[in-house]
């Protein structure tokens, strides 16, 4: 069996970092890992989905349509944009509600949906959806919204939507970013109701 995580957000939010943390944690637990890390124009505020797949007998680096087990979104509209990979019977969502409104919204006279509308959009694709104001909480606690991504991993684990052990994620955080380890650990544990 393969567990499929789709991570999305906006360039600059740490989507790549988050995917490295999850991939490394899965590797520590002995899973075979596959995935994608598309760079491209990511750092210039574009949308950037990355795929992580772990388990046994994993082949394609990308998640096939409708086969995501978890969509971890660091920006709410981006969660909706990835629903192609979601399935009502299978997919859990963890969504950081911190909106990043594109400059194009006013230039093209479009509308950015309200939090209520986003909930409604996600519902037909979600087995379960957890909304958390992670970036704002982290901004308040640590003075920087950037830790929101690590908090979101913690939320995913505590909600039972990401089958990885707390200890392996913590090891992965320490190994990947030793300089920011303490902050990251605090952000990660913020919402954990420890189970393993």
């Amino acid at each position: 069996m393969t567990f499929n995580v789709l991570l999305c957000g906006v360039g600059g939010e740490g989507v790549l970092f988050t995917s490295v943390i999850i991939a490394r944690a899965a590797n520590l637990e002995g899973y075979e890992v596959r995935g994608t890390q598309l760079h491209g124009l990511a750092q210039r505020g574009g949308q950037i989905p990355t795929h992580i797949r772990f388990g046994k007998g994993v082949f394609s680096p990308t998640i096939p349509r409708g086969e995501a087990d978890l969509i971890l979104a660091l920006e709410p509209v981006e969660a909706a944009r990835e629903c192609y990979f979601a399935d009502k019977k299978r997919t859990g969502f963890v969504i950081d509600t911190y909106p990043i409104i594109p400059v194009y919204t006013s230039l093209l006279k479009e509308r950015y949906p309200s939090p209520e509308e986003i909930r409604k959009m996600i519902a037909p694709f979600a087995k379960k959806a957890v909304f958390v104001d992670a970036s704002n909480i982290c901004k308040e606690k640590f003075g920087d919204p950037i830790y929101g991504n690590v908090m979101a991993i913690g939320v995913a684990i505590s909600s039972g939507l990401l089958p990885l052990k707390q200890s392996s994620v913590e090891k992965s955080l320490r190994y990947t970013a030793p300089k920011y380890w303490e902050q990251n650990l605090k952000a990660f544990r913020m919402d954990l109701k420890f189970r393993d």
Partner: protein, 617 residues
């Protein structure tokens, strides 16, 4: 971000990016030299080399373009040192003129060219391109890994093949291989051989008649031997008695495996030039149906059709008749197209499709960062020259000026093309043309175009968007930056000095974050005859942000004065992503402002000011 796993111990299993696995493979092969020019999806090969070159003890540089980088690697390989260069597909277009003759003369140390194609154009405009065709034109062997482990293993095999047959070898990847992550089992790193010697040999190095024909014959013989000796790079799986088969290369093979098909034989080509005729014969001789899975051009398909005529003329072959020749493949696309042939079930997405259609989402496109110097330059140039101008575009972050509100890149073709094309336009048309070209692009391919323009002297304003780095591909230095790939100080070559040395009289250097000075200089140069050059200089803001973070320093933060009542509509024409609009009121998102101050310069005085101390980021 440096990945510490690249240098992990032999025997360990780690997760690497395809590009990182290529680097690890090179280290395990004893690489001594590498030179690259960045181009996504291959950029992280060089970025990773740059991170570890000093630690491991091999040479690495970012060269001015792919041709120069390849030539440098060839020089090292002539001297017996193992060398690798990595480039995106367009890079190979630039380098090819040297790649073909180097294949004729051959190498002593292994020479590997990683070329990364980008079907779909995840990180490229310009064109979709299948570089497997290049291998055939130049008679140069080509290996194609399909996942991260193979990226490492095939790199090592490529070095071995290159040295054994004294021929450069292509390692061809695509975005979904270069940028895929995966578990890799590591082997031992070999101590690099970094010194060598050039041995003169007329017979070997001079590609002229009649040696030329001997060389040509010789390379064809090498290709024949490689076809025989490296058949092990191909493999066939599944029940040998089954009548249906799939033949694939690269990531298409992984998509096929993902489908977990029963009673279908799967063949995988790891060596796509030369294709082993024997392997193909064995694979197809007992089949009645064959599906060829390869993105872009029907290279394998054409070959197989040729072979099948002789050995299995009744074989029904599917390829580009059921799958597209453009863009990339995916598991679901392949399933969709082969389902009727293999009689497999397709999942039903009709309900999902209905729900997807209902979603109305705001457009999100890449934009220039908050505080980007390019935005400031575009704004000033348009403010002075208005709309009635042909804007010649080029390749770099400034190509984002193609979108609203600027729309100041009327054509974007290939690196440096802004200059040559503008020259042609100006010789046949009286329209005003302004060229935008980046600093890295200027060193890469801008100089010949500028020399030609100056010599033939049409009236043109050339704006060099000098942000002191190659930004779009992830911040690589170039000869103007003053430091090397491994962080050593260098004497920078100034673009204004180059322009002046060509005899261009009107060359100005302006601070890209100073609107007043920028606008005055554009006005001044617009009145001059002939070619003038405006170097708009201001550091890439993202790079500066990273540097400040390292030093523990912060940007000043700007804010719109709370009681401000004047019309700030000009901000719509500037479009800094940190400036948001609620109804008719603007506000600056403090999490996004990178303190360039330009918004405060274009608004009525006093409307936007630096925030009080303590509110810096």
């Amino acid at each position: 971000m440096e990945n510490p796993d690249i240098l992990e111990k032999a025997g360990k299993k780690v997760v690497l990016l395809g590009n990182e696995a290529i680097v690890r493979g090179a280290l395990e092969a004893g690489l001594g030299f590498s030179a690259c020019y960045p181009g996504t999806p291959s950029s992280e090969v060089g970025l990773t080399f740059a991170d570890i070159a000093k630690k491991v003890g091999f040479y690495f540089e970012w060269s001015t373009n792919e041709k120069v980088a390849f030539e440098a690697c060839a020089g090292a390989a002539f001297c017996g040192v193992r060398a690798l260069t990595a480039m995106k597909h367009f890079g190979l277009n630039v380098a090819t003129d040297s790649v073909f003759p180097v294949a004729y003369v051959g190498v002593h140390g292994g020479l590997v060219i990683n070329v990364a194609d980008d079907p779909f154009g995840h990180s490229s405009g310009q064109s979709e391109e299948d570089t497997r065709r290049f291998a055939r034109v130049g008679n140069i062997p080509m290996l194609e890994p399909s996942n991260t482990q193979e990226c490492k293993d095939f790199t090592m095999i490529a070095f071995e093949m290159s040295e054994r047959y004294e021929i450069p070898v292509f390692l061809r990847t695509t975005t979904m291989v270069s940028h895929s992550a995966g578990t890799v089992k590591l082997g031992p790193v070999r101590k690099p051989k970094i010194r060598g010697k050039f041995v003169k040999n007329f017979e070997r190095y001079y590609c002229i008649r009649p040696i030329l024909q001997k060389m040509h014959e010789n390379i064809l013989k090498k290709i024949d031997r490689i076809e025989r000796d490296y058949a092990r790079l191909n493999k066939a799986e599944g029940d040998p008695k089954s009548k249906k088969g799939i033949l694939a290369n690269g990531v298409s093979y992984q998509y096929a495996k993902e489908l977990d098909l029963k009673n279908v034989r799967i063949g995988k080509l790891g060596l796509t030039y030369p294709i082993s005729r024997k392997f193909i014969i064995d694979f197809i001789k007992n089949l009645n149906t064959l599906i060829v899975l390869e993105e872009l051009e029907p290279v394998i398909e054409d070959f197989v059709r040729g072979v099948a005529k002789d050995v299995n003329p009744k074989l029904k072959i599917y390829g580009k008749d059921i799958l597209p020749r453009v863009s990339e493949y995916s598991t679901e696309l392949i399933r969709e197209r082969i389902a009727p042939i293999l009689k497999i079930k397709k999942p039903d997405f009709s309900e999902q499709e209905r729900e997807l259609k209902k979603l109305k989402l705001p457009t999100r496109k890449a934009v220039m960062c908050p505080g980007c110097p390019h935005r400031s330059t575009f704004y000033a140039v348009k403010k002075v020259l208005g709309e009635n101008v042909v804007w010649a575009g080029d390749i770099g972050c400034y190509l984002l000026g193609i979108f609203k509100p600027f729309e100041m890149q009327d054509f974007i073709l290939s690196m440096g093309a802004s200059l040559g094309v503008t020259h042609g336009i100006r010789k046949v048309s009286d329209q005003k043309v302004v060229v935008f070209i980046g600093d890295s692009t200027f060193f890469h391919a801008g100089m010949p175009g500028l020399a030609n323009m100056k010599y033939n002297d049409p009236k043109v304003l050339v704006v060099v968007m000098d942000n002191n780095i190659t930004a779009m591909t992830g911040h690589q230095p170039h000869p103007g930056t003053g430091f090397s790939a491994v962080g050593e100080p260098k004497e920078p070559i100034k673009i204004e000095d180059i322009a002046k040395s060509f005899g261009i009289k009107n060359v100005r250097v302006v601070n890209a974050f100073n609107q007043k000075e920028l606008q005055a200089t554009v006005k001044e140069l617009d009145s001059k005859p002939g070619v003038s050059v405006l170097v708009s200089r201001g550091m890439c803001r993202l790079l500066m942000k990273k540097m400040l973070k390292k030093q523990g320093r912060k940007f000043p933060l700007f804010q719109i004065e709370p009681g401000e009542k004047r019309n700030l509509g000009l901000l719509d024409k500037f479009a800094c992503p940190a400036i948001m609009k609620r109804g008719n009121r603007y506000y600056i998102n403090p999490d996004m402002c990178w303190g360039c101050s330009v918004c405060s310069q274009i608004c009525p005085p006093g409307a936007i000011k630096p925030a009080a101390k303590g509110e810096e980021k």
